[in-house]
């Protein structure tokens, strides 16, 4: 029998047992749907993170902070004020601050182009628009991390200029702003502690109002964000006379063409620092996305495993039901090989149908992207689910193969049928 004839007959046989075919295919479809959706989520998640992280600056950047972990050999003896590692900021508690010495140490490392210090500041109160004083956290925007905004606009690479401040949207009500737009260009007054137990204030112009972060993986911190330049100035005011500068972190830029990881290793070797490259941060977030995706795909694979038994069962029943048909075809000279092909192609059709059902359902879910975006409060136009059409095609073909393999035993039973027995009518 010609292959096309076998395929056509297989298709017709399935159409004649519609309910059974559809139910069996649906079982596979559930697994296919889960896998296709997992792939879409992984795809969307990765490309979304790419867009977020690529906004978060240079892949040549290494974030260096003091080492957190307790070193058994660490020098625990009390130190005199003014000594290298003395706490300098009013807030300094257990975490060591980075020092100018650290800075020059790192700057001297081969391959380092630039070391930008990040200043830690501590605010006592914030007020605006004649409001009451509120507690608030002020943070320096030291890297190019994207900030999601409801109003206003930042400079290129998400830069905040000296004198500017980004208002957390949760303060709008407290400050008596009707909406984010009206808050723009208004002044926020921040009270800081100075080095002598007193306070000083500084005024900032609201350049933008933030929003909940677009990434469902990110936590939202209601921080006021100011420029690193302002941070430096404030840190200076908060530092006791004669004390060396202290930094919250360094943003180290590796020289163009130098391996960032090598530079990072050199920094780690240079002292008790912890260092992380942007590439690593990106990788660690990507890993989370991948884990979610593979987890989901695992469930899909389980569903498909279960549906294999459905295919085997369906095909066995089909062979039993069609004993006479098979007997007749064999009596008419149909080859064993062709009989077995007929049943295997039927199984392949079921696998194909199941795969297509699953992929189409997954595609329909991706049409809900705007809804998902809304639910997560993401930037509109963000697509967290992106169909991977090539992989979907591979999935469908794979399911056809799995179905064919599942149909092996039933098809062998059909091929082995004795036509005389099959055509016995008594």
């Amino acid at each position: 029998m010609k292959t096309t004839d076998v395929i056509r007959r297989a298709g017709r046989n399935l159409r004649q047992a519609k309910a059974r075919t559809i139910l069996t295919s649906l079982a596979i479809g559930v697994g296919a749907f889960t896998i296709a959706l997992a792939m879409a989520a992984g795809n969307g998640g990765r490309s979304y993170l790419d867009s977020v992280v690529s906004g978060a600056g240079d892949l040549r950047t290494i974030q260096v902070s003091p080492k957190f972990d307790t070193d058994p050999n660490a020098d625990t003896k009390p130190k005199k004020v003014g000594a290298e590692e003395a706490p300098t900021s009013p807030s300094a508690s257990t975490i060591r601050e980075l020092t100018p010495k650290d800075r020059s140490k790192i700057a001297a490392i081969d391959g380092v182009e630039k070391v930008s210090p990040v200043f830690g500041v501590e605010a006592q109160a914030v007020e605006a628009n004649g409001s009451d004083k509120y507690q608030g956290q002020v943070k320096v925007q030291y890297d190019g991390t994207a900030i999601d905004l409801t109003a206003g606009k930042l400079g290129s690479n998400n830069e905040i200029l000296p004198g500017q401040i980004v208002l957390p949207h949760v303060y709008l009500d407290s400050f008596g702003f009707k909406n984010a737009e009206t808050a723009l260009d208004k002044t926020v007054t921040v009270t800081f502690a100075n080095a002598f137990g007193g306070t000083f204030t500084k005024e900032f112009k609201i350049v933008a109002v933030d929003a909940k972060p677009t990434s469902p993986l990110a936590f939202y911190n209601n921080e006021f964000r100011i420029s690193n330049k302002d941070g430096e100035e404030i840190a200076k005011m908060q530092r006791p006379e004669g004390a060396p500068e202290g930094y919250y972190a360094f943003m180290v830029t590796a020289r163009q063409g130098v391996n960032v990881d090598t530079v990072k290793q050199k920094i780690l070797d240079a002292g008790s620092f912890s260092a992380m490259t942007f590439a690593e941060m990106r990788t660690s977030i990507m890993q989370m996305v991948n884990i979610v995706q593979y987890g989901l795909m695992g469930f899909g694979a389980l569903a498909i495993l279960a549906s294999i038994f459905g295919i085997i069962n369906t095909q066995y029943i089909s062979v039993l039901e069609r004993t006479q048909q098979i007997g007749l075809m064999k009596a008419l000279g149909m080859r064993r090989r062709d009989v077995s092909r007929l049943f295997r192609y039927e199984a392949a059709w079921i696998g194909f149908l199941g795969g297509v059902i699953g992929v189409v359902l997954a595609f329909l879910v991706t049409l809900l992207n705007p809804v998902i975006t809304g639910a997560f409060d993401l930037e509109s136009g963000t697509e967290l689910l992106q169909m991977d059409w090539l992989m979907s095609a591979v999935l469908v073909v794979g399911l056809m193969l799995i179905a064919i393999i599942s149909g092996y035993f039933p098809s062998r039973k059909a091929a082995k049928l004795d036509p005389i027995e099959a055509l016995r009518t008594e």
Partner: protein, 239 residues
């Protein structure tokens, strides 16, 4: 020409062994119409299966045009059946869910006939049994007589050399049965195709050129053109 030589078919093993065919021999010339006549359970169907390459009796030879089909490889036997044999069964065995057209086209597909040639052959076969108007109907919607005519169309579509019909009128009333008989004998005369009819109906057997009477798995007699020759006598008083 079909030559059956000393064919023995045993069902079961040892004590339960049962000889459904016992040393059967006869010859059928090309183009003859032959009735295999006998009571139910006498071994007619078993004999037909052996002659048509459906079954392989353990001893004996079945020579069709000089070739022993019992010694052929299974692939060659399949090809032999699909190219040279047409089958008609008592219970029709049409594929109820398929259209009349697809039922008739099945043997052509099995024989790998080129697609272009199929349609003409199918329509010709359907015209021969006067079912051409039903070509698009589902086989399940046909009456019993129409189903058997469909089975005849399926048997003749690939222009076989031999047609085996196992109780072709057994499930039909006499009028419809008559029509099926006419079709079979007409085709036999017109095309010179060998026709082997298995039947327990003596009236039907009288219409055949040769009547082979089977009893308890043995050939009891063979009559040609009405002149009865006793096989038993010819072989020297075995029974």
């Amino acid at each position: 020409m079909i030559e059956v030589k000393n064919v023995t078919k045993t069902y079961g093993k040892k004590q339960n062994a049962f000889r459904a065919l016992d040393d059967v021999s006869f010859t059928i010339p090309d183009g003859a119409s032959v009735a295999i006549l006998g009571k139910s359970g006498s071994g007619k169907s078993t004999l037909m299966h052996a002659m048509s390459g459906l079954d392989r009796p353990e001893t004996g030879e079945v020579l069709v045009d000089g070739v022993d089909i019992l010694k052929l490889k299974s692939k060659a036997v399949d090809t032999f059946r699909s190219k040279k044999i047409g089958f008609i069964f008592q219970s029709f065995f049409v594929q109820a869910n398929e259209s009349v057209y697809d039922n008739v086209s099945l043997p052509l597909e099995i024989a790998k006939a080129p697609k272009r040639a199929r349609r003409g052959k199918v329509m010709k076969a359907l015209e021969a049994v006067e079912l051409d108007e039903k070509v698009r109907s589902k086989a399940r919607n046909l009456s019993g007589g129409q189903k058997q005519r469909l089975a005849i169309a399926r048997a003749i579509v690939n222009e076989p050399r031999i047609i085996f019909a196992d109780e072709p009128t057994g499930n039909l009333d006499s009028v419809t049965g008559q029509r099926v008989e006419e079709l079979l004998f007409g085709y036999n005369k017109e095309k010179g195709v060998t026709l082997v009819i298995v039947t327990h109906d003596e009236d039907l057997s009288t219409r055949c050129d040769i009547v082979i009477t089977v009893k308890d798995g043995r050939v009891e007699s063979i009559s040609e053109n009405g002149t009865k020759k006793s096989v038993v006598a010819k072989e020297g008083g075995r029974a």
